[in-house]
């Protein structure tokens, strides 16, 4: 058995296609991104080495930091919305008939492309004919704002479709985790006289702590990378009021033809993602994990 299964040539052969693609299309480009950040480059002509100039510029770039702030708001909002998803999942995991159907309905927006969602919500937010403003007018609100054109509102307006898209995903994850809790534990607590509130908060939640930590990382890091929907809906506008780090990077490189600077932003974004992931993992690491076996 060992001899056959230790054939290194075969192992290499099996691993090679995927590994090669991973290295060539993911790892090497990451290194290159950092490297290009050291260059002045318009994407077509030659590159000129300018050292850390791009990175230094980045640190003083007010527009970039504004986009970073927007990204931070998005991450904060996504993390906070997890609380709502958790509550819904808790309700769903109780004695609810049709839980499966609810779960599937919640998931539907997740299946749509960000482009489709963006275009749909562009119409929902349409100042005169969108269903939102039409509804607001019908209940007596006189001049509902043009949601995506108001610099002070646009970022928050964008949060709604993002919420809409991912709610089902997180509810699903929490639901699966909650359902994994042995019924016997819940029953025992019930017999001991625990109220549903106590069962939910003292027993169920602590038992799914690991999963909650994973979702926090997913939500926060996902927000850091977020691009598609914002690009299609507002392209970072009006005037950068909805710009996030990823869209800023894209604009610098592919609109401004400043691929060197764009790469610096891209590399910085990568480092932030890795650092935040590491920090979150550390911050949420517990010294004792709750066991129930």
């Amino acid at each position: 058995m060992d001899k056959v299964m230790s054939n290194r040539l075969v192992a290499a052969l099996y691993v090679l296609p995927a590994l090669l693609l991973l290295l060539v299309l993911i790892y090497i480009p990451i290194v290159l991104t950092g490297y290009y950040g050291l260059m002045q480059w318009d994407g077509i002509g030659a590159m000129t080495f300018i050292g850390f100039e791009n990175y230094a510029r980045l640190l003083h770039d007010a527009t970039f930091w504004q986009s970073a702030y927007h990204t931070f708001l998005l991450a904060l909002f996504s993390a906070l919305s997890l609380i709502g998803y958790l509550m819904i999942a808790l309700v769903l995991s109780g004695k609810i008939k049709g839980a499966n159907l609810f779960r599937k309905i919640y998931l539907i927006p997740m299946l749509l492309s960000s482009v489709a969602i963006a275009q749909l919500w562009l119409k929902i937010y349409h100042p005169s004919n969108g269903v939102l403003n039409t509804f607001l007018e019908s209940v007596g609100i006189a001049n509902p704002p043009a949601w995506l054109a108001e610099p002070s509102l646009v970022l928050y307006a964008l949060f709604v479709p993002i919420l809409w898209q991912y709610a089902g995903f997180y509810i699903l994850i929490y639901y699966a985790a909650l359902k994994n809790i042995p019924e016997s534990l819940v029953e025992a607590a019930r017999i001991d006289g625990a109220s549903p509130w106590q069962i939910a908060f003292r027993i169920k939640l602590p038992l799914i702590t690991e999963v909650i930590k994973v979702t926090i990382v997913l939500a926060v890091v996902g927000s850091l990378k977020y691009f598609d929907l914002i690009y299609v809906m507002t392209d970072g506008g009006p005037n950068g009021s909805s710009e996030v780090m990823a869209s800023y990077m894209y604009h610098q490189a592919f609109r401004g033809f400043d691929f060197g600077y764009g790469s610096a932003v891209g590399f910085f974004l990568l480092v932030i993602c890795l650092v935040v992931t590491w920090l979150l993992r550390k911050a949420t690491a517990s010294k004792d994990t709750i066991q129930y076996s």
Partner: protein, 295 residues
């Protein structure tokens, strides 16, 4: 030890005793919440369906959820024939299929090698794939674009397909991993004793055993690849190879004021996934849960 005292349970909704009224009220509230959320998730799509079947007049003048007098299917016909949508649709289909097939194949090979075979560097390779999951796609966009430019692969579907395979590899492997670890080894051991080569063990024995998890990963990949936008948008510029997501985006750019056409375009782009969902919802749910809970 016998006890003959009855246990008195407090009267909370859901505990099975206590005043029925309170319990019923509690349930009504809970169900209302769940239904409200479900409506919020679905209403935008219902509105989409409705305005895709109206003309501009009806959209602007009628109430949002009012039904059109006659559903304007001509919106769909116009979009399908005029907008190249059929071409984009076709491209999405074959690019997705090819990407998914190779992603699942390569990932299975790797997972098999990592879980079933013994060789140095096993954990290192696994670690590389797992770290790959944390990489933001957009940070690699510029070098990838430059690389494909040099290889003359821009405007070639291969650039998109290879990228999809690479970027979906980590999550696919992660989902397969759990399943492979749980597979019983007796069958393989018997096969080895019968003189089977590794290739036969993989292709004839293990791979068929993983049919269900393959279905799950195939679906996850299909959803991602079908909906993907930024790679196609960056690497492909001629219409001939554009996928539905990019095509829809461009198309709508031309028809900004024709709500019916826009609605029809969006409906056409989301219909395949919705139909797949109706048929395969259990798999999809399971796949998404598996992919993340294990994380």
């Amino acid at each position: 030890m016998k006890t003959d005292t009855a246990v008195r349970l407090p009267a909370y909704p859901g505990t099975g005793t206590g005043p029925t009224v309170l319990r019923r009220l509690g349930y009504v509230l809970l169900y209302s919440l769940l239904i409200l959320v479900a409506l919020l998730q679905i209403l935008p799509l219902i509105w989409l369906l409705l305005f895709s079947l109206k003309n501009n007049q009806e959209v602007f003048d009628m109430a949002p959820f009012a039904l059109p007098a006659t559903p304007r299917w001509e919106n769909y016909v116009k979009v399908w024939t005029e907008g190249n949508i059929s071409l984009y649709f076709f491209n999405s289909v074959w690019i997705t299929v090819v990407s998914v097939v190779f992603t699942v194949l390569f990932a299975s090979l790797v997972t098999f090698a990592i879980t079933r075979m013994r060789w140095k560097g096993r954990s290192l390779v696994l670690g590389l794939f797992m770290v790959g999951m944390m990489i933001p796609v957009h940070s690699t966009l510029i070098p990838l674009f430059s690389l494909f430019l040099k290889l003359h692969l821009t405007d070639h579907p291969l650039s998109v397909i290879l990228s999809y395979i690479a970027f979906n590899m980590p999550i696919t492997i992660m989902i397969l991993l759990g399943f492979y670890y749980a597979l019983p080894r007796e069958v393989e051991e018997a096969a080895v004793m019968d003189g089977c080569s590794v290739h036969r063990i993989f292709f004839r024995i293990v791979l068929p055993m993983t049919a269900s998890v393959i279905a799950t990963t195939a679906i996850i990949n299909m959803i991602y690849d079908w909906n993907e936008f930024i790679f196609v948008n960056t690497f492909i510029s001629t219409d001939a190879y554009k996928t539905l997501t990019v095509g829809v985006q461009n198309f709508i750019g031309q028809y900004t004021t024709d709500w019916g056409a826009i609605g029809a375009t969006l409906m056409i782009s989301i219909l395949p996934i919705l139909i797949a969902f109706l048929v395969l919802s259990n798999r999809i749910v399971e796949g998404i849960a598996a992919g993340s809970v294990k994380g």
